[in-house]
């Protein structure tokens, strides 16, 4: 065997120089597969282990190739071959072996490291290493084609974390990110190897339960969904803390709920929406009725967004009667929406929607201004009660708005009663109490509405000195048939009296109920018996 130095350079000449200096790494091999020449680029590629004189498998092994014998068969058979090789240091190369007419072989290398890396990155979501949305669409498309050929059912599951935003907001993004990585790990644990798992952004994930001939759907999807809700909902410990989030899951099945990727994802999303609406930490299968329900909701939402501008809202005024004097002590302003085609729409329908899409802030301000203006025109200084939504507390401008409305309408602040429900105090109790104290400082009064139905936390009564407690109508209605309801009304009335708060019984419909209410010591009543909600002019006429 000649000394390596004798063959590292070829006789001088333009072709030889071109071979030696060309931009592509090149090795020349003899018929036995030993290197006889390495150009400059090849010497760089194999830096640390000079190629010339070595057998190709030994050379590739020294460079860390996982399969150093990849070209052995081709070398023996004297035929061309192309192999992708992973070298140490994360380097990826495409190597092409070509037999030469003069005997031996030429082996060239193309560095595809960047290419492979960027292709992998383009498919992966960087935080969790799961598929990204684009990859999900591509894989789902391919799996659907396979499922169709095999006649196998397939399931698409969308999963969304409950309360994740609170984790991010209170503990910071690094903890939120660490939590998302743990969630991703649990998803991998729950799914099978062949299933596709993707993070779609934020706290939303997707799983494709790959179709198998004879797969028992929807049972398999249901088992996986139940497992996901359980597993993802289990307590996490990370960064020294205990964390709890829940998972809601929506499921759509191929072929029953759709044949294309877009339809299946859309339908799984509708099912997810239902799962969340049904109280979260649960799963739901898509049902065609969900499409109808969503269309109806979307159409109502469009109408609701423009109802204020189109002046479709009015206020109705329901009298409140003082049990001491029997006279009208004030009115509660009640929001009414009359749509030209839909007719009257129940507040129980549109107020939650208005809160959800945020338009309640504008509607609430309109109601406040209209009610105050109306009350300012009354012949007697009766009180006017206006309801506040929890959403109105969040903008940070409520005190300013009320101050402005009082100034604009000239209403005596002492005549305005703002009614809040316990729901307003549930989130961010301290923030809401600050706003309530700001309102109180303006001289307006604050009532606790619907008391006894929600959380009825007595601590709220202790934390803020409400002027009035309104006893929910369900207790008043139940008084005739149930001793318990009577006891509850009595207890709330006495509680109010001892705390220096007035009590109003709502929903009084019969004379018997009125007598019972009076006996229990409430200060005021409000209900169909003592006056239905009425238009503004009729209310004003009652005070003349």
């Amino acid at each position: 065997m000649p000394a390596p130095s004798a063959v590292t350079s070829l006789p001088a000449g333009p072709f030889e120089a071109a071979l030696a200096e060309m931009a592509t790494p090149l090795l020349l091999l003899d018929a036995g597969g030993s290197v006889t020449f390495a150009n400059d680029r090849a010497a760089v590629l194999f830096a640390g282990s000079p190629p010339v004189g070595r057998a190709l498998p030994a050379l590739l092994a020294a460079r860390g190739a996982a399969e150093p014998g990849a070209f052995d068969d081709a070398l023996r058979a004297g035929r061309p071959a192309r192999e992708g090789l992973a070298l140490n240091g994360g380097r990826r190369v495409e190597a092409a072996l070509a037999p030469l007419s003069s005997g031996g072989f030429a082996l060239t290398f193309e560095d595809v490291t960047e290419h492979v890396r960027s292709a992998a990155l383009a498919r992966l979501e960087p935080l969790t290493g799961l598929c990204n949305r684009a990859e999900l669409h591509e894989r789902l498309g391919a799996e659907l084609a396979a499922a169709e050929r095999a006649g196998a059912p397939l399931a698409v599951l969308l999963l969304d974390l409950d309360r994740f935003k609170a984790v991010n907001d209170t503990l910071g993004h690094p903890v939120g990110d660490a939590l998302l990585r743990k969630v991703a790990e649990r998803l991998r644990n729950a799914a099978r190897r062949e299933d596709v798992i993707a993070r779609l952004g934020g706290d939303e994930f997707a799983l494709v339960q790959v179709g198998r001939a004879g797969a028992d759907q929807p049972r398999a999807a249901e088992a996986l969904a139940a497992r996901l809700v359980d597993l993802v909902g289990r307590t996490y410990v990370l960064d020294g803390q205990m964390l709890n989030v829940g998972a809601s899951v929506g499921i759509a099945l191929y072929p029953d709920d759709g044949r294309g990727a877009d339809d299946l994802l859309k339908h799984a999303d509708l099912a997810l929406y239902r799962a969340k609406a049904d109280g979260r930490a649960t799963y739901r299968f898509f049902e065609p009725a969900m499409n109808v329900a969503v269309q109806a909701r979307r159409s109502l939402e469009i109408d609701l967004r423009r109802a204020l501008a189109l002046k479709q809202f009015t206020l109705a005024f329901q009298p409140q009667i003082s049990l001491e004097t029997g006279a009208v002590s004030g009115f509660e302003a009640l929001l009414r929406w009359h749509h030209p085609e839909r007719g009257p729409i129940s507040p129980a329908t549109f107020i939650p929607l208005a809160e959800e899409i945020g338009v309640i802030v504008g509607i609430g301000e309109w109601a406040l201004r209209t009610a105050c203006r109306e009350a300012a025109s009354w012949a007697q200084p009766a009180s006017i009660a206006v309801n506040l939504s929890p959403v109105q507390f969040r903008g940070g401008k409520l005190v300013e708005t009320v101050m402005l409305v009082l100034a604009q309408t000239g209403l005596d602040p002492a005549r305005l009663e703002l009614e809040i429900t316990e729901g307003a105090l549930l989130d961010d109790t301290d923030g809401v109490l600050t706003v309530l104290n700001g309102l109180r400082a303006l001289g307006v009064r604050i009532s606790m509405d619907d008391f006894g139905t929600g959380y009825s936390s007595l601590s709220y009564l202790q934390k803020f000195p409400f002027d009035k407690i309104k006893i929910d109508q369900s207790f008043v209605r139940g008084m005739a048939g149930s001793a318990e309801c009577g006891a509850i009304v009595r207890a709330i009335a006495r509680l109010g009296a001892s705390l220096g708060m007035r009590t109003t019984a709502e929903g009084v419909e019969t004379a018997d109920q009125l007598d019972a209410i009076r006996a229990e010591g409430c200060s005021e009543v409000q209900g169909y018996l003592t006056g239905r909600p009425m238009p503004a002019d009729q209310a004003a006429a009652l005070l003349i």
Binding site: K182, E185, R186, R227, R234, Y236, V237, G240, Q241
Partner: protein, 148 residues
């Protein structure tokens, strides 16, 4: 890493239902896994069990405790895992790894006598410790619930 010592306490129901042999096999598998895994990552503690539930104390560096607990959370055989405490502590309550059977049934005590080693684990002594007393109580309640 003594400044990063944490103690985690949980109890969980044993989800394996069916023949005593299946429950038996599951319990033995869980015990064997926790014994080897915990020793490897520097986690010590105590595991009390009976046919109905596991109550476990894990002590060690936070990374190791968090990883161990995450593995338990992902284990389908553990159902309704209730995390009772996760806190920084100055010293370990358990310097070793110990396990004990805390059921009321004599038959099961005999069955698990061989896996419930007595290395440093003395229920009578432990009942003096409030934490362990609570766990002990929970374990007995769970067993009563399963038997009911």
């Amino acid at each position: 890493m003594t400044d990063d010592l944490r103690r985690l306490v949980y109890y969980s129901r044993n989800r394996t239902v069916g023949a005593p042999e299946a429950v038996d096999a599951t319990i033995r598998a869980i015990l064997a896994t926790s014994r080897t895994n915990n020793a490897r990552v520097g986690v010590t503690g105590a595991l009390m069990f009976n046919a109905g539930c596991f109550a476990q104390v894990l002590e060690g560096p936070s990374d190791a405790v968090e990883a161990t607990f995450e593995r338990i959370q992902q284990d389908e055989r553990h159902g309704d895992v209730s995390l009772l405490a996760y806190e920084a502590v100055a010293t370990r309550l358990f310097t070793d790894w110990s396990m004990a059977y805390v059921g009321a049934s004599k038959a099961e005590a005999d069955r698990y006598g061989d896996v419930a080693d007595t290395s440093g684990f003395d229920i009578a002594r432990m009942t003096g410790d409030r934490l362990c007393a609570v766990l002990h109580g929970l374990a007995l309640e769970e067993e009563a619930a399963v038997a009911a």
